[in-house]
């Protein structure tokens, strides 16, 4: 019987001015998999201000001395004149769809998600007795300590009668007083993540809820939710991070269930199906030709690919 295993894979890279790099995203090697359906792509260029402003909970350095705050509360100071990366994509060995890289914003044909939900392109089946596991890894600065996964929910239906059925787990907390250190691992395991014995379930999507302290920015201190399927396969995978430990917690952990940028829809209907030996490849190019006088024109870019691996059960 055919099943579809959801996956999200992220690669984070640093691009020096005029540098071109390639990202290979190959989903997962799953024995017996026949095809991979690519669902969508999220490309995020991390903003200069986001990283350096203490107003936004930045976690690298304090803001430069000349920074100011404008009427919207955004930190000012030196800023890149444009913030984008050039890109194109295709399949390794089969070529890119375009001859030249284009600004990444041009590719965006999907809106931003309005709820923290990832709807799978194909339903994922879980069999009676099997269980999912989930946990969260707290991100953010060490002293932030206040945003942690509240719960995770998989919405689906029972195969035997078509009735809606949810699998879920909640992290029980003692209110605001309970702080969570960064890098702390929080279990989200529960018997409610187990498929009932009387029928397989078709899971159509996953959503989560974060408990948030008003004093801390959701975008900078979010926790990474991880889901592990009955075969110990992690749904979210951080493929590679640049050397030098320059990646912030946020860059690594921010939403793969609800990416904070608008999506580039791929999908079966548009022909984005690849055989198991094919690799999706993205080329990224820094449009700057040199470093600025006051601004670091090195770009940090994250690329997140989501989709479903088609597998045949034994």
């Amino acid at each position: 019987m055919t099943n579809y295993l959801p996956f999200a894979q992220r690669e984070i890279l640093e691009l020096e001015p005029a540098e071109i790099k390639h990202v290979r995203l190959s989903s997962f090697g799953v024995e017996g998999s026949s095809r991979v359906i690519l669902q969508d792509l999220a490309v995020r260029v991390f903003g200069f201000n986001e990283d350096y402003s203490p107003d936004r909970g930045g976690d690298i350095d304090p803001a430069p001395a000349q920074a100011s705050t404008d009427e919207w509360g955004w930190a000012g100071g030196p800023e890149r004149t444009v913030e984008y990366v050039l890109m194109r994509y295709g399949w390794d060995g089969k070529g890119y769809l375009l001859e030249e890289c284009q600004p990444h914003g041009e590719f965006v044909n999907g809106g931003r998600t309005l709820s923290p939900t990832w709807r799978f392109i194909k339903p994922y089946r879980i069999d009676p007795g099997q269980r999912l596991r989930a946990h969260g890894v707290q991100g953010g600065r060490a002293e932030a300590q206040s945003l942690f996964p509240g719960g995770v929910l998989f919405f689906g239906k029972r195969v035997k009668d078509g009735r809606p059925y949810h699998l879920y787990a909640t992290h029980k907390v003692g209110g605001r007083a309970e702080k969570v250190a960064n890098n702390a691992v929080l279990d989200l395991n529960s018997d409610n993540l187990r498929c009932p014995v009387d029928s397989p379930l078709l899971i159509y999507g996953v959503s989560y809820h974060m408990l948030c302290d008003i004093n801390n920015m959701v975008t900078t201190n979010s926790a990474l939710i991880q889901v592990v399927d009955p075969n110990e396969r992690e749904w979210f995978k951080l493929a590679r991070v640049p050397a030098g430990n320059v990646v912030t917690q946020r860059q690594a952990t921010e939403g793969w269930i609800d990416p904070p940028v608008s999506l580039i829809n791929l999908g079966e209907e548009r022909g984005w199906i690849q055989e198991k030996d094919e690799t999706f490849i993205v080329e990224l190019e820094n449009p700057y030709t040199d470093q600025g006088e006051t601004v670091d024109n090195t770009l940090t870019v994250s690329v997140t690919l989501r989709g479903s691996v088609e597998v045949e059960d034994a």
Binding site: Q102, R270, G271
Partner: protein, 309 residues
């Protein structure tokens, strides 16, 4: 009867309606001058905000289309479509299509073709983008176009294909550039079926315009539906945009909402009832009433598919 091919067709008009007046749009503007029926899909409108300072700051910021206009539509020889005069929000504020939010960082104006449009091999698109940003000295950066489509028929044989071009530089006020046609060419071995088209007026708009407190707005980005205008045509066959006037992106692709639109410049769009067809020689008549006490300038565009036999 041969196979029907769909050719997108946009016709633009720019009109100024005096204060308190009702004016018909020029009769020739929305006429079907082709030999084939033109199936109408929507009529879009964008306003032209005046952003230079004025005595009354609220007046200076006028130019919206939301509430101070009334509309009447009818097809020649067939009578009215709408029986009542309606305001913009009542008739063109159709909420049943959720617009995509266009912003300067990562979301362009998206246009989805109502039917797949065929681009034969060895033909392409010619695109010309104009900076029609109303802000004084308003510059747009790296405007671009990207078209998604496929080679092959539906299903598993379908191969994704893209056409794209952008101008990798600032585009100054009131200037225009043709975009490099090499990457807008279908050099595949077979037809390319066009599915959607994305128009971006810049990755970030750079503006020297000063806010009311004298501070520069800096990189605050306002991708108005009217900041960048386009003329896009295939290199062979029937033109999509026969009028030489560039059409604002918001009028080409009205199902987008700029991230920041305090002037209600739109776009808004009226969706025609299904099977509204302009036969050859017929025209759409549009009357616009301005209930404000100042003149209002509008961009109005009519979009439909020519059904070419």
């Amino acid at each position: 009867m041969g196979e029907t091919k769909f050719v997108p067709r946009w016709l633009p008009q720019r009109v100024t309606i005096p204060a308190g007046a009702t004016r018909p749009l020029p009769a020739s503007g929305f006429a079907n001058t082709e030999l084939w029926p033109w199936r109408l899909h929507w009529m879009s409108v964008t306003g032209v905000p005046k952003l230079e300072t004025d005595e009354d700051p609220r007046r200076a910021y006028m130019g919206g289309v939301a509430s101070r206009l009334t509309w009447q539509l009818g097809i020649s020889q067939k009578g009215d479509i709408n029986l009542r005069t309606l305001t913009t929000d009542a008739m063109l504020g159709t909420a049943f299509r959720l617009p995509q939010k266009a912003d300067s960082t990562d979301v362009p104006f998206r246009f989805r073709f109502p039917a797949e449009v065929v681009l034969p091999p060895d033909s392409g698109l010619v695109a010309r983008v104009s900076n029609t940003y109303q802000v004084e000295n308003g510059v747009i950066h790296s405007p671009g176009i990207l078209v998604n489509g496929y080679h092959g028929s539906r299903g598993i044989d379908r191969e994704p294909a893209q056409l794209a071009a952008y101008g990798p530089a600032n585009l100054g006020p009131k200037s225009a550039i043709p975009l490099d046609a090499a990457d807008l060419f279908n050099d595949g071995g077979d037809d390319m079926l066009l599915h959607e088209m994305m128009l971006t007026g810049g990755c970030r708009l750079l503006s020297t315009y000063e806010g009311q407190n004298g501070d520069p707005f800096g990189t605050a980005a306002w991708p108005f539906g009217t900041a960048h205008s386009w003329r896009i045509n295939p290199t062979t066959g029937i033109e999509w945009m026969p009028d030489p006037t560039p059409i604002p992106a918001g009028n080409i692709a009205p199902w987008n909402r700029p991230q920041y639109d305090p002037w209600n410049a739109g776009p808004r769009a009226y969706v025609f009832p299904e099977d509204t067809v302009l036969d050859p020689t017929q025209r759409l008549s549009v009357k616009v009433g301005n209930v404000d006490d100042v003149a209002i300038t509008l961009n109005v565009a009519l979009f439909g598919l020519l059904e070419v036999q």
